[in-house]
């Protein structure tokens, strides 16, 4: 999950600050999510997925 968000963000050409602004969070929160140090709420997960044009599965599902 950790690198998937970061990769999707970079793929979209966004900085942490830009993504944070679009999903009404702070840059620190996005950094913590990317590092796997904070589990976001479902609402924030959906907002991030929408901004990055990915599904929740693409970003948050851990494949075994």
């Amino acid at each position: 999950m950790v690198n998937k968000i970061k990769l999707a963000r970079i793929e979209k050409g966004l900085t942490q600050a830009q993504l944070a602004k679009r999903v009404n969070a702070t840059r620190q929160t996005i950094g913590l999510i990317e590092k796997g140090e904070y589990n976001p709420s479902l609402n924030l997960c959906i907002a991030i997925a929408k901004e990055l044009e990915k599904t929740l599965n693409d970003l948050f599902w851990e494949e075994s």
């Binding site: 970061k6 900085t15 942490q16 600050a17 009404n24 969070a25 702070t26 840059r27 620190q28 929160t29 950094g31 913590l32 990317e34 590092k35 904070y38 976001p40 709420s41 609402n43 924030l44």
Partner: protein, 155 residues
């Protein structure tokens, strides 16, 4: 959280909000335990405690504990990542502390009235300078903690 009256006072960012709620909950549990212990101890030793003092102590503890945890957790200045931004924020903090000290001075003058001696004037001035220094120290500490935390999360 939207259904709680606390919602109005909490930060908009969900991570910050969750942390602040956690600090408030910790403080509330500690106050509850301390109050129960105080009741037991005062009954054992037959102390008579002023309820006004207890109420202010409990309220003060919750405010101070939550504030200290907040500044030490490095969640106040979420966007300070670069050295340049760090120094700019330091200047802003100094200005904010100066304003706070000035407002503190004016409020003291208004509540105590125009001082009739130099000693009273210096007492008011001293308290205002103390408020300025405290504000500056806490804000600088919070900034340092936030900067260190943000650097670790850098893209």
């Amino acid at each position: 959280m939207k259904h709680s009256f606390l919602h109005v006072f909490l930060p908009k960012d969900e991570y910050k909000r969750m942390r602040v709620v956690g600090f408030l909950a910790e403080a509330a549990v500690m106050v509850a335990v301390m109050l129960i212990l105080t009741v037991f101890i005062s009954s054992w030793f037959d102390w008579s405690l002023d309820s006004m003092v207890l109420a202010f102590a409990a309220f003060g503890f919750i405010v101070i504990y939550t504030y200290l945890r907040y500044i030490l957790s490095g969640i106040e200045f979420t966007d300070v990542v670069s050295k340049d931004n760090y120094f700019k924020t330091k200047i802003k903090i100094r200005k904010r502390a100066t304003k706070f000290g000035a407002i503190f001075f004016i409020v003291l003058l208004l509540t105590r009235g125009i001082p009739n001696s130099w000693s009273v004037f210096f007492e008011i001035l001293g308290l205002s300078v103390f408020a300025f220094i405290l504000m500056l120290i806490f804000d600088r500490l919070s900034l340092k903690k936030s900067y260190e935390k943000n650097k670790d999360l850098l893209e």
